[in-house]
Point group: C2
Chain length 236, copies 2
């Protein structure tokens, strides 16, 4: 049985959603056959039961599960004999990493790439995106993103807990990747797919970790259009 | 066999070191009889083999182990049948939490309490502390700590990943405390023991978690002089 993942898409089939990437990596981690169905913002209301407002959403044997964290917990419970996403006792610490990604990483990142996101959306999604996000930020997308070079250093510095962790082990989860890795991976992949900004410096120890994550599951992370970053490559 | 912990002490037997508190809680977690031997800065050079420059240091059956992280790993390996500090697969994620405490929590906190630390040291330690820390910061301790009320809100905000985590589970480690909890606990305990500043707001969800940590192991965390914070109490 193939799991259907409703996967946010921009123009040129760019799969850019950080939250969808978590789920896509989690499904691959669980070795579940997946159809990642390209879904534009404007199409979300029509998927599944018509009640969905955000994605990722998955359909698994007729069951609809929404919200990336709920999906991860669902997969862990539904498929306990497959590789664990959290590790034996790791659910709560993984949740801590998610809260760090939500309160530090992604808020810092969105201000660096939000106009780029707009520019890489399908034209039918652009008006919705601009209006909803400019209302949220209280200024134009271009104003939010302006002077990002001055904020890039601060953003990189905020990644220090992850940077130090992967200097001692291949993954945040330890010897093997875990859902904690996919949480940060999703955020960086969001940027790589949709913005020409080289988010990490070429000598950043996180680049090697990011390359390893991109290589996982037969190079799943590379299977979308994206930008090159100096020093980033797979197969290391 | 009793484990000896060389435990940093200020005046009035205040046990204030964040790194020593991690180790003290870890020893209690492993249910190891412990003598927490009061040690002033000026006494560190004379302990054990005379080679130690920082504490915590433990002596366990003739073995000397230094550095709080190395001690935690040592305890986990030496006493595998006792309650796990990291959880089955949690060492790397716990290390992530430590890096977060080291790069976010403690650097933010030290600037709020450093003159208070000085004022609560034994008089024989004060000159050393002032000189070494003023050299590090490039200004007086009082200047570093000045206007802390203006920085307190930012510090509290930086705790958000932990705050959100304990709104879903009693401990960062999940249903039971883990070493990840002791990492953040040590930082907050540092402040509570040595500074009259109410570090957390009275309605902060972290207060309940902190109280639970203080209550652990027969109220071990209360067994030192410390300051009251509005809303903080044990036994909840």
């Amino acid at each position: 049985m193939t799991v259907v993942l409703y996967d946010l898409v921009g123009r040129e089939d760019r799969r850019f959603s950080p939250h969808c990437w978590r789920t896509r990596m989690a499904l691959a981690h669980k070795d579940l056959a997946t159809e990642a169905r390209a879904t534009r913002f404007g199409e979300i209301q029509a998927i599944c039961d018509g009640q969905q407002r955000t994605i990722p959403v998955i359909e698994d044997a007729g069951e609809i599960v929404a919200d990336s964290w709920r999906i991860a917990c669902y997969l862990e419970q539904r498929y306990p004999d497959r590789p664990s996403l959290f590790g034996a006792d790791g659910e709560s610490l993984t949740h801590f990493v998610q809260h760090w990604v939500h309160t530090v990483v992604q808020p810092g990142l969105v201000g660096l790439i939000i106009a780029d996101i707009h520019d890489h959306l399908d034209s039918t999604d652009q008006d919705y995106f601009r209006q909803s996000r400019e209302q949220r930020f209280g200024r134009s997308l271009e104003a939010v993103q302006a002077d990002r070079d001055q904020r890039l250093g601060e953003f990189r510095k905020a990644l220090e807990p992850a940077r130090r962790t992967v200097q001692d082990s291949p993954y945040l989860g330890g010897e093997t990747p875990r859902y904690a890795d996919y949480l940060l991976f999703g955020a960086l992949q969001w940027s790589r797919v949709i913005s020409p900004l080289a988010l990490l410096a070429a000598d950043d120890p996180l680049l090697g970790w990011f390359g390893r994550c991109l290589d996982l599951y037969e190079g799943l992370g590379w299977q979308t259009p994206g930008y090159d970053w100096p020093g980033l490559r797979g197969g290391d």
